[in-house]
Symmetry: C2
Subunit: 357 residues, 2 copies
C-alpha cells in the first residue's frame, strides 16, 4: 500500500530539523519497505517570499492528496510587520482549517533521561505522561464576526467571536474519549462554564457524549484551575480536552513542565485519519542556520505520523526506541544539554538516530 507524505519545512530552523526527520523517515521506509512517497512544498514565510502567499494553492493541492504532512515551523521577524491575513501563521491556520484537522494531540511526556531539565521538582514531574486534546478548527481562532470597527464616539473597538456548535464539540469529545480509552481512561474537560455560555454548551455536550463511554471517568475543570493544577500536580491528569484557545495556552504550559520542549511532537487529525505532524516548538529564528537546533521533536513527529495516519505502529516504535537509545547514550543538542552529557549538532543527532535504528 503506497502512501504519500508532504514535507513542509517552513521557516527558521524548520528546514534543518525537517531534513533530519526526513532522513529518519526514509530509513524506516526502506528498512521496512513501507512504500512511502514524499514530496516537498512551501508554507509560511518562505512561501510568502517565493509565491506571495503563506499557503499557495500549489501547496494546498499537494496537501489534499497527501495521507500525511510533516511540518517544520513557520514565522519569523522578517514577516512580523505584515498585516495579519498575510502572515506566515495564516499558512498554518489555513492548512488546519481547509483540511479540517480538528483534533490536535499534544502529548507532554517527560523523558526520564531529561528529568533534570524541568523547572519543577523531580517528585512532581517524574514519569509525566499527559495527553492534551485541543480542538483546532473552531473556537475563537476562526469565529466570525471578527475585526476592528469604528465606534460612534470615534474610537476603535477590536472584536473576536468564541463560537462552538454542538457537532463541533461532539466530534472533538469523541476524539478525546477514544484517546482516553487507549490510555488510563480518565478524561478531564476544561472550560469556563461559570462565565462563558459557549463553554456551558461545551460542558453539556461532553457530558452527553460520555454516556457512550461508560468506562471513561470524566471530570470537568475551569480553565484557571486547570492552569493551577498543571503546575501543582500535573500527574493527576491522563487526558485533557479543551477548545482551541484554552488548548493553545494549556498545552504549552504542560509542555514546559517537562523542561524540554525540543522533544515534543504533535499531531493534528481530521475525520479521515489524514494528519499534519509538527514539533510543538516554533521556528526559533535566533538559532536558525546554526545547525544546533534539536531535531528530535520533528523525528518524534514522524513516529506519530506512522502511528496515527500511516498505520505503521512497528515503524513508529522503531523510531521511539532509537530516540530513547540516543538519549541513553548521553547525546544532547544545546537546548537539552546538561553536565556530563555530550553536546551534538542537529545533524549529528540525526546521524545518531539513524545509527540506532
Amino acid at each position: 500500500m503506497m502512501s504519500k507524505v508532504l514535507i513542509l519545512p517552513g521557516d527558521g530552523i524548520g528546514p534543518e530539523i525537517v531534513a533530519e526527520a526526513v532522513r529518519v523517515l526514509d530509513a524506516v521506509n526502506q528498512k521496512l519497505d513501507l512504500g512511502i512517497e514524499t514530496e516537498q512544498g512551501l508554507v509560511g514565510g518562505i512561501a510568502i517570499d517565493a509565491e506571495g502567499s503563506p499557503l499557495p494553492e500549489s501547496t494546498m493541492e499537494k496537501a489534499r492528496r497527501a495521507d500525511a504532512i510533516l511540518l517544520g515551523a513557520v514565522g519569523g521577524p522578517k514577516w512580523e510587520s505584515l498585516p495579519m491575513v498575510q502572515r506566515p501563521e495564516k499558512g498554518l491556520l489555513g492548512l488546519r482549517s481547509q483540511l479540517e484537522l480538528f483534533s490536535n494531540l499534544r502529548p507532554a511526556i517527560l523523558y526520564p533521561q531529561l528529568a533534570d531539565a524541568s523547572s519543577l521538582k523531580p517528585e512532581i514531574v517524574a514519569g509525566l505522561d499527559l495527553m492534551i486534546i485541543r480542538e483546532l478548527t473552531g473556537g475563537i481562532y476562526f469565529g466570525q464576526p471578527r475585526g476592528v470597527r469604528q465606534l460612534e464616539d470615534g474610537q476603535r473597538q477590536g472584536y473576536n467571536t468564541y463560537v462552538y456548535s454542538e457537532s463541533e464539540i461532539e466530534r472533538i469529545a469523541r476524539s478525546a474519549f477514544d484517546t482516553a480509552m487507549r490510555r488510563d481512561k480518565r478524561l478531564c474537560s476544561v472550560d469556563k462554564a461559570n462565565v462563558l455560555e459557549v463553554t456551558e454548551l461545551w460542558r453539556e455536550v461532553v457530558e452527553r457524549v460520555s454516556a457512550d463511554y461508560p468506562e471513561v471517568e470524566l471530570s470537568h475543570m475551569y480553565v484557571d484551575n486547570a492552569a493551577m493544577q498543571l503546575v501543582r500536580n500535573p500527574r493527576q491528569f491522563d487526558v485533557m480536552v479543551t477548545g482551541n484557545m484554552f488548548g493553545d495556552i494549556l498545552s504549552d504550559c504542560a509542555a514546559m513542565l517537562t523542561g524540554s520542549i525540543g522533544m515534543l511532537p504533535s499531531a493534528s487529525l481530521n475525520a479521515k485519519g489524514q494528519g499534519m505532524y509538527e514539533p510543538i516548538h516554533g521556528s526559533a529564528p535566533d538559532i536558525a542556520g546554526k545547525g544546533i537546533a534539536n531535531p528530535l521533536a520533528t523525528i518524534l513527529s514522524v513516529s506519530m505520523m506512522l502511528r496515527y495516519s500511516l498505520n505503521q505502529p512497528e515503524a513508529a516504535q522503531l523510531i521511539d526506541q532509537a530516540v530513547g537509545r540516543v538519549l541513553d547514550q548521553g547525546l544532547r543538542t544545546a537546548d537539552i544539554m546538561s553536565e556530563g552529557a555530550q553536546q551534538v549538532s542537529t545533524q549529528q543527532m540525526g546521524d545518531a538516530v539513524l545509527q540506532a535504528l
Copy 2:
C-alpha cells in the same frame, strides 16, 4: 478623615477568614486611629438564599458608598446547578462591573519562609515577586452578543464575544505602566496578536501609551508563550498586563508557582481609587466550617486595601510585618503546613497576627 469599608464574607470559608481579617483591620484602626467604619453585606450564595439574588440592591447601595470592600469568596456546590445568571459568581462579576473595578492587581509573591511549598525548584522561584495586572470589566467576560442559539440545521451553537475598545485598553495600560513605575520598571503585555484582531488592537494601544512612560521597558508576549515562560523562568517578569480571560488563567498559574495560594491577596480598583479586596483562592466548600482555612490571604488583602484605597501605607506595613513575623515563628495553617512547623487553626492564626501587631 473617615472612611467606610464594606465587609462581604460570602460563602464557604469566606465568613471564617473574613472574621480574622476584620479583627486585624479593627486592631490597626484602633491602634493608629484611622477612623475606619465597617458595615456588613450579603453577596454570592448566601445572598441568593437570603434575598433571591447573588447581588441584592441593598448590597450594591452599600458598595457604592464604601471606599473599599473586603470580600471573602463566593460559590459552592449548593448553587452550581442554577442557571448562569443566578449563580453566586454573578455577584462578584456584578460588583466588578457596576463599580467599574477595571484594574485587577494580582501579586504572585513567594514568602521565603514557605519556599518549600512550591512545586518548582527553589532556584527557579526563590524571591519571586511578580505583579499581574488583569483587565477586569471588559473582554470576553462581559462582551455582547453572547448566549446559545439554534442554527438552521437544528443544532445549537454557543457564542461569546471578546471585545475591547481603545479607551478600555488605554486605561488598563496606564494602570500597568503606573504600577511598573513603582516597581522595577519592566512591563510585559500579553496578547495573541498573531491570531486575534482584538489583541492586535490591544498591542497597538499599549505601544502608544508606552510613549508616555519612556522609563518603562515594554515587551510583548503571546499568551501561549507567556504560560510557558511563567513555568520556565517566572523571575524574568516584573509586571505583566493582559485582558480579563488571559489574566484569569495566567494569574492563577503564576499564583500556583508559589505553592501557597492561601497567602495571596488581590485588589480590584476603579478610576476613583475605590477598590475591592479579596484572597485569590476560592470558597473551598470542602473545608468550610472546620476552622482550618488560612486567613492570611484575606488579612493581606486588608493590607492592600489600606495601601491602595485608604491611603494608610504605615498601617499596611504593620500588617505585612506581623504576617512575616508569624511565619517566622513557624505557625502554619494546614494548607501551608510543613515538617517542623506548628499547625494552627484559622482563629489561632488570626490571634497570632493580632499578637504580632
